[in-house]
């Protein structure tokens, strides 16, 4: 994935900083609570939501099961419609393909539709290294790019920023990228939008190459689909001469009819709209209309490895609606950056450690970045059981086990730093399998209860730093039971 995130500290450390930042927490709380209430209303309007959710789950599962077949069909359809298909095994290969394609046009600038796939591979940085400047045209993405920042939300990458911060970024940075912000810019939404419009218009009219992702690819016709709210994406898709789309292989659906389901569930889940304002669809090339050259780069980058895992593969059903982020109490406090990936929140916590593996500190910590409250599963429009996958990945981190990496079966060792915990868990399991030992421990705790400190040393400090411990009772229940019901115990 993008080099930007390498060397991230583990989630708990990254989150600590965010928890202490009152502005960030306030911005996030306000934004997520507003959208979550709206989403609930938009979903409640449909009497068949449960059926739509189930249909979405099934379509995705069916497609994933026959992914090879549908991808071949897609390649044929795209080629027949005048496009060219490229296959990229990983980020490096995808970046090389795109860089070469842009170079072949002789251009040194491209305009971009907001796309998770290109962020995942760090395309902007790779193009920059090759002397090509990529301009983000989605408003929130533009704010992130101008602010030399990182996205913190799937749908609203600048969700952590408030209007005052955005005004400052526009005033300071727009000039170095193109048309500067108007004099005396205020932080009213209308003025900020107008400043962005003027800045971007200049880019749209000049660009010869556009780069996009896609929300869906229809195998039967080779049609790609982008849904968006602003219309800036449509400008990038229609004005340039060359269009390059970089799309994860899991985005394919078999037929147009399948879109019927997702075009209802996606907008309601993401922006709480009945229908998103812009749905753009393109099929290869058409004379005299839109780009005359079209390239599709199909990106694997860990996806087939993920597909090999029977529990974890459901993460590939994700349609990136971000509903799970907006209801997640951990995301709300920790912020998107703490996840160290372009995929933050609950989906990021299960997707990144599968796409990237669990070798790094941040990836090994992500499966634990959840209280397993289940709110994410409840809202997910394709019914991804995120808590189930989190626990499954915790197992991979704590106990090791079989996995597929780069197409090879491997046996993963437990992640570093879990040896002490594993020993403690084993000891606890032993005590719990021997009731007499448990009882001795309980009695000991009761007898020494007046000696217990208020704050604990070692790992216990994580508890007593902010919470008091309950007093240990004079007598555990089982002793009371034996004293009062002694003769009645009929168990072994």
């Amino acid at each position: 994935m993008s080099g930007t995130f390498v060397g991230m500290p583990a989630f708990p450390e990254a989150a600590r900083e965010a928890v202490g930042n009152a502005t960030l927490r306030g911005n996030l709380r306000h934004a997520t609570h507003t959208i979550r209430a709206k989403r609930a209303r938009a979903v409640a309007e449909l009497s068949d939501w449960a059926e739509l959710r189930e249909a979405g789950r099934r379509i995705k599962d069916h497609t994933l099961r026959h992914l090879d077949r549908y991808l071949e069909q897609l390649e044929e359809s795209v080629t027949a419609a005048g496009g060219t298909v490229h296959w990229a095994a990983d980020a490096e290969e995808a970046n090389r393909i795109v860089t070469d394609l842009v170079r072949a046009t002789g251009e040194s600038e491209v305009v971009k539709v907001k796309s998770m796939a290109t962020q995942e591979i760090g395309l902007n940085e790779a193009l920059e290294a090759a002397g090509i400047r990529a301009y983000e045209t989605d408003l929130a993405e533009l704010i992130v790019q101008l602010g030399k920042d990182r996205p913190s939300h799937i749908l609203v990458p600048a969700i952590h920023r408030n209007r005052g911060e955005i005004r400052d970024i526009f005033t300071e940075e727009m000039g170095t990228w193109g048309r500067p912000a108007p004099e005396g810019l205020t932080d009213t939404p209308a003025e900020l939008a107008e400043a962005a419009r003027l800045h971007l218009r200049e880019k749209f009219l000049r660009a010869k190459v556009g780069i996009s992702g896609a929300n869906f690819m229809v195998a039967e016709t080779g049609t790609l689909v982008v849904v968006e709210s602003e219309g800036n994406g449509r400008m990038c898709l229609t004005l340039p001469e060359t269009l390059i789309s970089v799309v994860g292989i899991e985005k394919v659906v078999p037929s147009w009819r399948d879109l019927e389901v997702f075009l209802q569930t996606l907008p309601r889940s993401s922006t709480a709209e009945r229908m998103n304002p812009y749905t753009s669809m393109w099929t290869g090339t058409t004379d005299g209309d839109g780009p005359s050259t079209f390239h599709l780069v199909l990106l694997d980058n860990g996806r087939t490895d993920t597909l090999a895992d029977t529990v974890g593969r459901q993460a590939l059903r994700c349609i990136r609606c971000s509903a799970c982020l907006n209801v997640c109490p951990v995301y709300e406090r920790a912020g998107g950056h703490a996840y160290g990936s372009v995929y933050p929140g609950p989906i990021g916590a299960i997707l990144s450690p599968q796409l990237r593996g669990t070798a790094s500190e941040i990836d090994a910590s992500l499966p634990y970045a959840s209280s397993l409250c289940g709110a994410c599963y409840e809202v997910c429009p394709v019914a991804i059981d995120i808590p189930e996958v989190l626990v499954h990945l915790r197992e991979r981190v704590a106990e090791g086990g079989p996995a597929v990496r780069q197409g090879n079966r491997v046996l993963l060792k437990p992640a570093k730093g879990h040896a002490a915990e594993r020993a403690a868990v084993r000891a606890a399991r032993w005590a719990l399998a021997h009731p007499a030992a448990l009882r001795t421990g309980q009695r000991l705790a009761s007898r020494t209860r007046r000696l217990h400190p208020r704050t604990l040393p070692g790992p216990g400090r994580a508890w007593t730093g902010t919470r008091d411990l309950p007093p240990v009772p004079a007598e555990p229940f089982r002793d009371w039971w034996q004293r009062t019901h002694g003769g009645k115990d009929t168990s072994k």
Partner: protein, 251 residues
Amino acid sequence: MRVALFLTCVNDTLYPDTGRAVVKLLTRLGVDVDFPMAQTCCGQAHYNTGYRHETEPLARHFSDVFGGYEAIVTPSGSCAAMVRELYPRMGERARAEGRGDSLARTLAPVVPKTYELTEFLVDVLGVTDVGAWFPHKVTYHPTCHGLRGLGLGDRPRRLLEAVKGLELVELPGAEECCGFGGTFALKNADVSAAMGADKVRAAESTGAQVLCAADNSCLMHIGGTMSRLRTAMRPVHIAEILASTEEEPAV
């Protein structure tokens, strides 16, 4: 009806009052309660921290101890969810790993017979008015595993509403997690504490004297936060409210 009380390791060790309350309540309702002394732990914390293989012997032990009863009642939404939802999943995983049906077969008998307390009262005994008296202003926090895992729905509320003298007040953002999450409270202590503090502030805003829930693990976290923030509010397990009567009131 021969009912086994599965108290859970946390309640046994730290919250014996809850256990005594369950015994008192069920006995009052004419249920014959047994406490199998060999019981220990359902393995939830092990499982949810990623130690599925360490959990299997605990699950087998649970089944050995409780398999012979007609019903198993536990005052913990999360431990009931562990048995009902996750034991079958563990059996399936063992099968998928080519280890045969033995685990699934061993665990099968306890799965449908394990009930969270409020579920048992409403669904099995068919009561909502358990004859309790508790003259306090109470707010109810539905814990995540009870709410979303077991789908307890309005059962706890219906039971509380029938308690004489009790004034039930709405908890703002009730469905949001309190931040306990088992080992999450230790592994991500900062986020957990922030969530706990928000929960306590929401509870304080109701003016209630008591915050009630059906899971002592969450109450341990919320109560520990209340105590540190010097909140004049008490965490109380729902069993203790339902067991309280005019003759023998809960403190």
